[in-house]
């Protein structure tokens, strides 16, 4: 199996890469901030984040601040490990 086959399919999309990158260097990041950082639409972020949640790479927290619902994201240990692995494969690919 070549290195390319080892690349995690879950991280193929730019948006998912972005979400993971932001969460690698921050603790909890809320929906609005994530949306602004990545410059994407609500729907786009919602669909990609739920895909990452399904793979158990991120944890989603929903709470109410006053009457407004607030969604925040955090990376799970599993997600951190998977992303690090993905990064090191990418780097290996660059070198070869």
């Amino acid at each position: 199996m070549g290195i390319i086959d080892k690349l995690n399919k879950d991280f193929e999309s730019r948006v998912r890469l972005g979400i993971m990158s932001v969460l690698m260097v921050n603790e909890w990041v809320d929906f609005t901030e994530m949306k602004n950082l990545l410059n994407i639409t609500d729907g786009n972020l919602a669909s990609h984040s739920s895909a990452l949640e399904k793979s158990e790479y991120i944890e989603v927290k929903k709470e109410f601040v006053g009457k407004k619902p607030k969604t925040s994201y955090q990376v799970t240990p599993r997600g951190r490990a998977a992303f690090k692995e993905h990064l090191s494969y990418l780097e290996k690919l660059m070198k070869s």
Partner: protein, 204 residues
């Protein structure tokens, strides 16, 4: 294929940078903050002269209470100008590069900057209260230097070099009480202008 992976890596790096560091601070903010301090410092020198005090004279100077008040307000005005310039150029830069301003990185940076700055400010108010004017300039330089070194994790890390320079200048001025204004003009005026120009060129 290779092209895509390279772009992926670049994207990852930029998202990490963008989300964890406050990078909208423009070099021009530094230049104009420095100019405000320079002009303010020279104005203070004129104030001394107008009050019949020879700043670089041989004898120890005593500062009348009215002049202390004037100096205090001059300081506040310089601070307000520096802050306004900083804000203006930051907003301009973030609009130009489409960077969000009020992020958790910004809040982290401001908090880390504020802890030493507020501490130093209160310390200076106490010095003012006890009429120990000679130590005010070194104190402002040292606490400002500490604030910059402290905020380094949340903005361009080059800022720590400015912080170290302010610290060294503050240390030297501790031993040359009576020349505070000179060190203050170098630290807040000239160093800011130099740093601002270097940053402006580097991150343009």
């Amino acid at each position: 294929m290779n092209q895509k992976h390279q772009e992926d890596l670049a994207h990852i790096r930029s998202m990490m940078e963008r989300s964890s560091r406050f990078i909208s601070l423009s070099g021009l903010s530094g230049v104009f903050a420095g100019l405000s301090a320079l002009i303010g410092g020279l104005y203070v020198y004129q104030l001394f002269k107008a009050n019949g005090i020879e700043y670089f004279g041989e004898q120890q100077i005593t500062i009348p209470a009215s002049l202390v008040n004037q100096l205090f307000y001059t300081g506040l005005i310089i601070l307000a100008f520096a802050f306004l310039f900083g804000l203006t150029f930051t907003v301009r830069k973030s609009r130009k590069y489409d960077l969000p301003i009020w992020t958790s990185a910004t809040k982290n940076m401001l908090f880390n900057l504020a802890v030493p700055l507020v501490t130093g400010g209160i310390f200076c108010l106490a010095l003012l209260h006890h009429e120990i004017y000679g130590f005010i300039a070194p104190t402002t330089l040292i606490f400002y230097g500490l604030a910059l070194v402290n905020a380094e994790k949340y903005t361009f890390s080059d800022i720590k070099y400015l912080g170290f320079c302010e610290l060294v200048l503050g240390f030297i001025s501790l031993f040359y009480i009576g020349y505070g204004l000179v060190f203050w003009i170098i630290g807040f005026g000239i160093l800011h202008i130099l740093y601002g120009l270097v940053m402006f060129k580097k991150y343009k």
